[in-house]
């Protein structure tokens, strides 16, 4: 039994992209853009400037994710509430982040101090300093 036929039978109310059949070349174009963006994101850190690294790494990740979501997943022609649904879920992740970061990201606060985490940071930094003194120091981490 073919559900596909049933789908097509009421295509008008089952999403619109059946009317938007892009030619393969369209997708290849998107892919080319993605590849260029990808190259930039790999090249960015080689400049060694922190702000450039952050921008190229995460800014371009967002741009790439947008392209994939919009054109490969067809969210651009999907019903709007689907986009809102996924954005709302992302919002929950942000909410979680902002609720938790004051306790987990920070290592001290009002009347408390995360001694173990501070020690871990110190240990790690000291170990690195010792290691860097040994071998030829690699480029200072940003």
């Amino acid at each position: 039994m073919s559900t596909h036929a049933a789908d097509h039978a009421h295509a008008p109310d089952s999403g619109d992209e059946h009317e938007h059949v892009h030619p393969p070349s369209f997708y290849v174009k998107i892919w080319a853009i993605l590849t260029v963006l990808f190259a930039i994101s790999v090249a960015g850190p080689m400049l060694g400037v922190k702000i450039v690294t952050i921008l190229t790494a995460f800014g371009i990740a967002i741009a790439k994710a947008y392209l994939v979501c919009a054109y490969f997943m067809h969210l651009n022609i999907q019903r709007r509430w689907v986009v809102y649904l996924e954005l709302a879920v992302l919002g929950m992740v942000l909410l979680f982040w902002f609720g938790v970061a004051p306790d987990v990201m920070k290592h001290e606060g009002q009347n408390w101090e995360n001694v173990a985490a501070k020690q871990a940071v110190e240990r790690g930094m000291a170990a690195h300093a010792a290691g860097a003194a040994h071998a030829d120091a690699p480029a200072a981490p940003h």
Binding site: Q110, N111, W112, E113, N114, V115, A116, A117, K118, Q119
Partner: protein, 242 residues
């Protein structure tokens, strides 16, 4: 209400009891009103032979006002509760009065050990007095405590102080209390910490200054070995038992 069975021994105990009483009054009122209306309606509108129910969908303002007005009052009650709750909370947890004495509380599976400052009233010096399951403080003094744990999460709970604070391994958490009367009371662990959780109890002994001085004098002679370096270790609370 609570003080009937559990004495108020810290300065903020009465604040917390008042807050509880306030909430009790406010929510108690709504609870009895709602239950009363519920049972009244069940009784009044019980099925009668040949009766017919009213047809209303709950959009007519004549009906909805019975809900929206109580609702506004509830909002006001909420605001009152928030204001008082935050006030009490800030007094207990967010302020830190200058301490007369500082103690360190180490919660471990499954006992409490306490580090008293000793005669010089400073922690981490040679004359510190370490005790097991017994904390001595002077009545009327403000005591600052530092909670540390080498293994799992415990909770430092002193019901007569209305005080509770979890002890998180890896963290040093500070708090305070100021006692108001002498006596000897339970310190309980209020966070499950393994098989001995049900027996993890200590006593807090609140004494007059003279008695406390005697106790210090009697114990400082037998005090444990002095801590190795004079300089404060980077973290006396170092958790990691290797």
């Amino acid at each position: 209400m609570i003080s009937y069975a559990v004495e108020q021994v810290s300065t903020y105990a009465k604040d917390i009891d008042f807050l509880i009483l306030l909430i009790c009054g406010l929510v108690g009122f709504w609870f009895f009103v709602a239950e009363g209306v519920l049972f009244f309606l069940i009784f009044k509108y019980r099925a009668k032979e040949g009766g017919k129910a009213a047809y209303m969908d709950g959009t007519d303002p004549k009906h909805t006002r019975f809900i929206s007005w109580p609702h506004r009052f509830i909002l006001i009650c909420d605001v009152v509760i928030v204001v008082f709750a935050v006030k009490v909370w800030m007094g207990v947890k967010q302020t830190m009065p200058a301490p007369d004495q500082t103690v360190r509380v180490v919660a471990q599976q499954w006992s409490w050990s306490f580090q008293h400052p000793g005669p010089d009233n400073k922690l981490d010096t040679a004359d510190d007095i370490k005790t097991l399951d017994e904390l001595h403080v002077v009545v009327g003094q403000t005591v600052q405590f530092e909670l540390v744990s080498p293994d799992v999460i415990h909770s430092f709970s002193v019901p007569v102080f209305r005080l509770k604070q979890d002890v998180i391994p890896g963290r040093a958490i500070k708090g305070w209390f100021k006692t108001t009367q002498t006596g000897s009371y339970d310190i309980q662990c209020a966070e499950i910490c393994g098989i001995g959780h049900g027996a993890m109890v200590a006593r807090i002994v609140i004494e007059q200054p003279e008695r406390y001085a005697e106790w210090v004098a009697a114990n400082v002679a037998t005090a444990t070995v002095p801590p190795a370096p004079a300089a404060p270790a980077p973290a006396p609370a170092a958790p990691a038992p290797k």
